[in-house]
């Protein structure tokens, strides 16, 4: 991602847009709006790619499956956050925000708790060299079910906000 880029213009592109509305004409604001939508959709698709890849892996590749399921959910969560709140982050600490949802997101408490657990499981899968599959809190199937329903709810939520996916 190189300058010039909307997502590099500041920490929150929605705040930027709101504060420029008094200066820019409606057509220009729509251009920015469309750009936010385009990047949100791209992030969503990026998450879906991780998810599809995770599903295609062999049952025995539990580490890779858990890791990719997590990244699938993480990027879809980023898409939701970018579209609703204008927040886009690239630093590693953003993983701590896996449970950051707008309050109107469907089943938000379920995802808040379960995605934090999936993140912990992903740490076991990626870094726990002496861990076994039995150490997971969510089984591989649980993770697949979780990310499947999360993707579906996110799609409905974003569609309801006018984002075509």
């Amino acid at each position: 991602m190189n300058t010039p880029h909307l997502l590099l213009a500041g920490a929150n592109c929605r705040k930027i847009l709101e504060n420029l509305r008094g200066i820019l004409d409606a057509a220009t604001c729509t251009l920015i709006e469309n750009e936010i939508a385009r990047h949100s959709a791209a992030l969503f698709r990026f998450g879906e790619e991780h998810f599809i890849f995770a599903k295609s892996l062999s049952r025995s590749d539990w580490r890779q499956k858990i890791s990719r399921y997590y990244y699938g959910a993480y990027n879809i969560r980023r898409a939701v956050q970018l579209h609703t709140d204008g927040i886009f982050k690239t630093d590693v600490s953003d993983h701590k925000n896996i449970d950051a949802f707008p309050s109107s997101f469907p089943n938000s408490s379920t995802y808040k708790i379960q995605l934090v657990t999936l993140r912990d499981d992903r740490n076991i899968a990626d870094y726990g060299f002496d861990s076994a599959e039995a150490d997971l809190i969510l089984s591989v199937q649980d993770a697949e079910d979780l990310v499947t329903s999360f993707t579906s709810d996110a799609k409905i939520f974003l569609n309801s906000r006018g984002l075509t996916l």
Binding site: N107, S109, I124
Partner: protein, 520 residues
């Protein structure tokens, strides 16, 4: 050191589980502590965890002190190997609590969760009841009248529209005009809690209180009606409208009902005040044609019928199942079928004759009966036994609901029961529709009391022009009883009722009900 750590883990887990149980009312929550390299995890196991449980655990987790070992390390999982004895699950115990609470509906039922837990009626009565017009909600005891009024009330709350809720049970059996005054006093008292600055309403409240013991109270009251009407205008102008709920008007003496309604209508008409009234149709006199007082339908108020008896059994099954499913999901079960044996729900709807509260009550009792017999799920036998116990409650409702004809109703019921069980040995029969016949009116009251149930509103089995109603004696009076095993049952489960089945039913002659019983 390890022992100390273990103690700390136990204390941390206990802190969370205790809070979880307080907030969800679960008991004996199944949980485990999973040890692993990047920190231990607390896992609560629930048969079917829903968003409600995650919301609770999320709130608890957010408020945990730093010292708790499971801060941000607690989750809920689907219980993978629940015991085969499903009636001993904590989820089932919670379901029993939830059903018990739902049996008595009041303005505080389900608190803030009411709308999210409410199950819509079969024919979309909700869309009607929230409309800005007067309504009479009719149905038998337990058919969901109060719940429907509460649905409207909670929608008004969400909209910020003021309302008055009057539980008519307080005025049970009253026939004196002072009861009308008392009801208006209650109405104005509630209005004054909405807006304390209504000086005219406050003054009227004083005047009404003084009227209470006056001999010409009605005349004096009528003089106050225009003022009462005017006193409500400031609120309706500011908040758009006021909705007045009268729950269970039928408990008021039938002679006073049209009079009360006429006074309320005088205050409300063209004044942005709407009336929502519930009652048992056969016991409600909303309009007195001789005095032309009351609420006439459909001009002054529209009727919302809630009770279709057994005329549409498949719809009743779907409705009752959805109510029980909602309670089951709230309790952490996937659906109510999870704790039921085959055919239980179908039998339940049939023995409850499609009345939701009777179904809930019978089901609650059936869970306990099955558990006592060490059955792993609720059985049809337990449903039958529970139904026969419920019949005693229905008989006692005669004293509570019957409109001053207790002896005649009891005698009429004894005649019908004898006809079905001893004479015909069939639980269903036909009776000719004779609207003005006092014996037919008594049968209508037996229907209102849920001792008889309508299978069909009007069939013409033999000669044209003579219409018959198909009725079924309540199951509770013969199922589960050894002596009545010889009774031939008309269907055992909700299914489409065919005309040919009805035509073969025995005909009950109204003159079997003693004339003197009718006239006494």
């Amino acid at each position: 050191m390890k022992a100390a750590n273990s103690l700390n883990l136990e204390a941390s887990a206990k802190e969370i589980v205790d809070q979880f149980e307080r907030k969800t009312r679960f008991h004996n929550t199944n949980f485990e502590i999973k040890e692993r390299s990047n920190g231990d995890y607390l896992i609560l196991n629930i048969v079917s965890p829903s968003e409600r449980f995650f919301q609770v655990i999320s709130d608890i987790s957010d408020a945990l002190p730093e010292s708790n070992e499971f801060r941000n390390r607690v989750t809920i999982k689907k219980r993978t190997h629940p015991p085969t004895d499903r009636l001993s699950l904590p989820e089932t115990f919670l379901l029993k609590t939830v059903i018990t609470e739902s049996l008595t509906v009041s303005s505080s039922t389900f608190g803030t969760e009411f709308l999210s837990r409410y199950i819509r009626s079969v024919f979309g009565a909700e869309d009607q009841v929230i409309a800005q017009s007067n309504h009479l909600v009719f149905g038998r005891r337990g058919s969901g009248k109060s719940s429907l009024l509460l649905y409207a009330l909670h929608n008004l709350k969400a909209e910020g529209v003021p309302y008055v809720w009057i539980a008519m049970q307080t005025y049970e059996g009253r026939s004196d005009f002072e009861a009308v005054i008392d009801i208006f006093i209650e109405l104005l008292q509630q209005i004054l809690t909405i807006d304390t600055s209504l000086t005219e309403a406050e003054a009227l409240l004083d005047q009404l209180t003084k009227l209470d013991s006056s001999p010409d109270a009605e005349l004096q009251f009528d003089r106050l009606v225009p003022k009462i009407r005017r006193s409500l205008t400031p609120i309706t102008q500011q908040k758009d409208r006021i909705v007045v709920f009268l729950d269970d008007i039928h408990v008021l003496d039938s002679r006073l009902q049209p009079l009360l309604l006429s006074k309320l209508y005088a205050v409300s008409r063209d004044n942005r005040v709407f009336l929502k009234i519930s009652g048992i149709e056969q016991l409600t006199d909303n309009w007195d044609p001789s005095t032309r007082k009351g609420l006439a339908t459909p001009h002054d108020a529209q009727i919302i019928p809630l009770d279709y008896n057994l005329t549409m059994p498949s719809k009743s099954l779907a409705h009752i199942k959805s109510i029980l499913d909602a309670h089951a999901v709230y309790s952490g079960l996937p659906n109510v079928g999870y704790i039921c044996g085959s055919g239980v729900l179908e039998r339940l709807v049939w023995v409850a004759a499609g009345v939701p509260r009777d179904a809930l009550s019978i089901f609650l009792s059936a869970i306990s009966k099955s558990a006592l017999k060490d059955q792993k799920r609720v059985s049809i036998t337990s449903v039958n036994e529970a139904a026969s116990v419920t019949s005693d409650v229905k008989l006692s409702d005669i004293n509570r609901d019957a409109s001053g004809k207790i002896i005649q109703i009891k005698e009429a019921f004894a005649v019908v029961r004898d006809f079905c069980i001893s004479t015909q040995k069939k639980n269903a029969f036909l009776v000719e529709i004779k609207g003005n016949d006092p014996a037919f009116e008594l049968l209508q009251e037996l229907i209102a009391l849920r001792l008889l149930h309508v299978l069909h509103e009007g069939v013409t089995p033999h000669e044209a022009g003579r219409r018959y109603m198909a009725l079924m004696l309540d199951y509770g009076f013969y199922v589960g009883i050894r002596a009545a095993r010889s009774v031939d049952l008309f269907q055992k489960e909700p299914a489409q009722i065919l005309a040919k089945d009805l035509r073969n039913l025995p005909i009950f002659q109204l003159n079997l009900i003693k004339t003197n019983a009718v006239q006494s």
